[in-house]
Amino acid sequence: MSPALEVRSITKRFGDLTAVDNVTFGLEAGEIYGFIGPNGAGKTTTMRICATLQLPDEGDVFVEGHSVLEEPRLVRQRLGFMPDSFGAYAATTVSEYLDFFARAYGLRGQDRRRAIRDVMGFTSLEPLSGKLTSALSKGMKQRLCLAKTMLHDPSTLILDEPASGLDPRARIELRELVKALADMGKAILISSHILSELSEICDGVAVIEAGRIRATGSVEEITKGLQPHSEIFLRTLEPIEIAERRLVELPRVGAVRHDRDGLVFHFEGSDEDQAELLAQLVATGVRPIEFALKEADLEDLFLRLTEGKVQ
C-alpha cells in the first residue's frame, strides 16, 4: 500500500534562492510527523508543494500514491491543508463558513449537513455556529480552520504552524485534537515553533534548515545518531568544585560542565555501569542528592542540528 504522504527529492527555487533542496521524507496513516526548522527554512514551501499550491522544480510528492504534479485534483480529495494564516470571510458566520467549504468540496444534501455537524462537534464549535468569524478569538479561529480542513474527511492533514499565537490552554486543546485525529488513522504533518509540544505528540520529525533536511526519524533515533554517549545530571551536598574534582577521576566519565546548581557530564556505559559509577562516587565521599539521566528533548536536537542559517 502507498504511504499516506511521500515527499520524493523535491527541490524548489525562487530565482537564485533554493528554498527547498532535495527534500525527502514520508509518513504513514495514523502517524504524526513534526516538521521543524527556523523561519525561512523551507517548511511552508514544502507544505504548500504537498498541498498542490506550488509545484516543485524537481521531484514529486505523492498522497496515497497520487502525484501532486499530475493528479492535483485526486490529491486535493485526499488531503487537508491548514495554512499558517487563517482566511476568514467578512460578514460570514461559523456555520456559513463551513457550509461554503463543504459545498466547495462537493458535499451534498445530508452528507454536507452531517459533515458540518461532525466537524463542529469534534472541534466543539456548536455553541458558536451563529457567530461571525471575524468575532472569534484566535484559538476559536484555529479550531474553525481545523474544522474546515476536516470537512471532506481527508486521510492526510498538513497543519502549518497551527499553534502559533495561541494561549497555553488553546495550545493544549489543539494538541489533544491533533492526537485524536491521529487516533482516527489520519496521517498528520505538522510544523511548529513550539518544539516541546511536538516532542510530546510526534512519532517522527524532520529537521529542515536552509531548505535541506538535517535529520529525519523518531526523536530517539535522532538522539542516538547525534550523541553516542549519555548525559547525566549530578547535584551534591558538597560544593560543586569538589564533586567535579572527584568525578573526573572516575572511569567512563567524559566532558563535564556546570548546569544550574549541579554538573552535567558525558558518560559512556550501560545501566550497570551507571550504578557502578554512582557507588564509586559515594565511596569517594561525595553525597549525591540528584543523579539523573538527562534526556535530550526536541529543543536540544534542534539547536544541535541547526546552525541558525537564514535564507
Binding site: 492535483p72 460578514a91 460570514t92 457550509d99 461554503f100 468540496y105 451563529g130
Partner: protein, 516 residues
Amino acid sequence: MDEPRGLLRILDDFWNPVLVKEVRQALRGRLFHICFSITLVGVTLVSAGMVVAMGNEVSHSEGRDFFLGLFTCLAIAVIGFVPFTAFNAMGSEWDENTFDLLVISNLRPGRIVLGKVLGALTQAMLFYSAFTPFLVLSFLLRGIDLFAVIVALGVSFVCSTGLTVLAIMLSTLSKARFARVVLLAVLAAVLVGVTSGSIVFTEQLLRFPGDLRDPEAVQAMLVFVVGVAMAASFCYCVACNMLSHAEENRSTGVRVLLTASLLVALGFMTSMMMQFRVDRSALSAMIIALLLGSLLPSMYLVTEPERLGRRVAPRVPRNRLLALLATPWLPGGGRGMLLFLLHTGGILAFCFLAHASLKGSSERMLTSGVPAVLALAVYAIVYLGLPSAIQAPFTDRPKARVIARVSIPGLLLVFLLVPALLGFFVGNYNLVNMRHVGNPEFLMERTWNSIHAHPGIWRLLAGLATLTIALNLYRMGRGIREVSQASARRAELARDSRTPESGQTEPEAADAVAES
C-alpha cells in the same frame, strides 16, 4: 442557519458555492445596504418630485422624463455599483487570505469566476426588482414606448454583465495593492463612461422609439449583444487563466474562444453579404478590423513559455492524429505563432473569396482594400513574430515574458518613431510625418486601391515576413514535436498500465475517480 425545504432543498445542492457565499456576504454587508438604501431613497424622491411637479395635468413627456430619472438611478446602481462590488469581491479573496483555501477545495477557476459573476448579477436583479413598481408607474404616466423600455433595461443588463466580468478580470490581474488601485481607477473610468453613455443612449431611445423597428437597428443591437458576449467571454477566460496554476493549461480556453470569435465574425460578414449589398471597401474595412481585433490576444499567445506545462503534458490526447490537430490550441509560444498564422491565413482566404464572390471584374479583386488587408497581415506577422521569436528562449521567466509582451508594441513604436526622428535631423518631412515603411497605416492607405504601388516596400516587407516565418519555423516545429512526444508518452504509459481484468488504464481509472 435555516435549512431549505422541498424543492429548494434539492436545488440547494446545485447552486454554485461561490454564488451562495457571495449573496450571503453581500446581503449582510454594509456596502450593499448603504447603496441599496441610497438608491431607493433617491428614486422615491425622484418619484415624489415628479408627482408634485405634475399636479393634475399629465402631458405626454411626463412618463418619459420620469423614466429617464429612474433609469439614471438604476444605471448608477447596476452599471456603476454592481461591477465595483464584483471587483472588490474578487480582491477580497487575496486580502482575506482565502484564495488558497478555494484552490485546494477543488473549485475550478471557472466556477470561482462564474460564482462571483452570478453573485454580482443577483445583486443587480435585486435592484431591478426594487425598481419595478416605479418603472410600472412611469409606464402608466404614458409617453414612453414599452419596447424602448425593454430595450433600455436589456441594454443596461447586458452592460452590467459585461462590466462585471471585466471588473473580475481586472481584479485577477494583480495582487499588489498599488497595481490594484491603478486597476480600480481604470475600472472606475470605464464605469463612469458606460453609465453616462447608457443614460444618453436611453434618452435618445425614448425620444425616437420608432428607430428601433429598423432592421439595421435590430442588427446593430444584435452586434452589440454578441460583441459584449465575446468580450465578456475573453475577460472570463483571462480571469480563469489568472486564477489557474502557472503549470496548468492557461491558454487553450483563450485560443478556442479566439478561433470561435473569428468564425462568428466571418459568419456574420457572410450573412451580411448575403442580405445586403456590401461595398468592397466596407468589406475590406471589416476584415481589417477583424485582423486588428485578433492581434491583442495573439500577442499574449505568441509570448507564452515555449514548453507544455507539467500539468498539461499528461493531458495531451493519446491519439497522435488528434494531438497533432489540437497542437495550435495547446499552450506554448511556438504553438501560439502557429495558431496566429492559421488565423491570419484563414482571414486572408476569406478576404479573397469574399471579394471574388462580389460582382465586378476580376481585376478589381486586388483593389478596394484587398492590398491593405494583405499589407496589414504582413505587418502583423513581422511585428508579432520577430520579437517573440528572438525572445522565445527566455519566456520561461515571468519577467522575460513581460518584456517580450511589451516589446511587440515597443517594436512598432521604434519602427514608427526612429525614422521620424531621423527625418527630423536630415530634414525629410515625409519621414517626420510618418510616411515611411515602418508605419503600417501609410502603406495601407497608399496601396488601398492598387497592389502595384510602392513595389520596393512590398519587396522589403515580403523579405521581412519570410525572415520572420523562417525564424519561427524552429519554435513551431519544436512545439509540434513536443505535443507529439507527450502524446506518444501518454499512449506508452496507457499501454504499460493497462490492467488485464478491467481493460481500464490507470489514467482512465484516475479520470473516472476524478469525474465521480
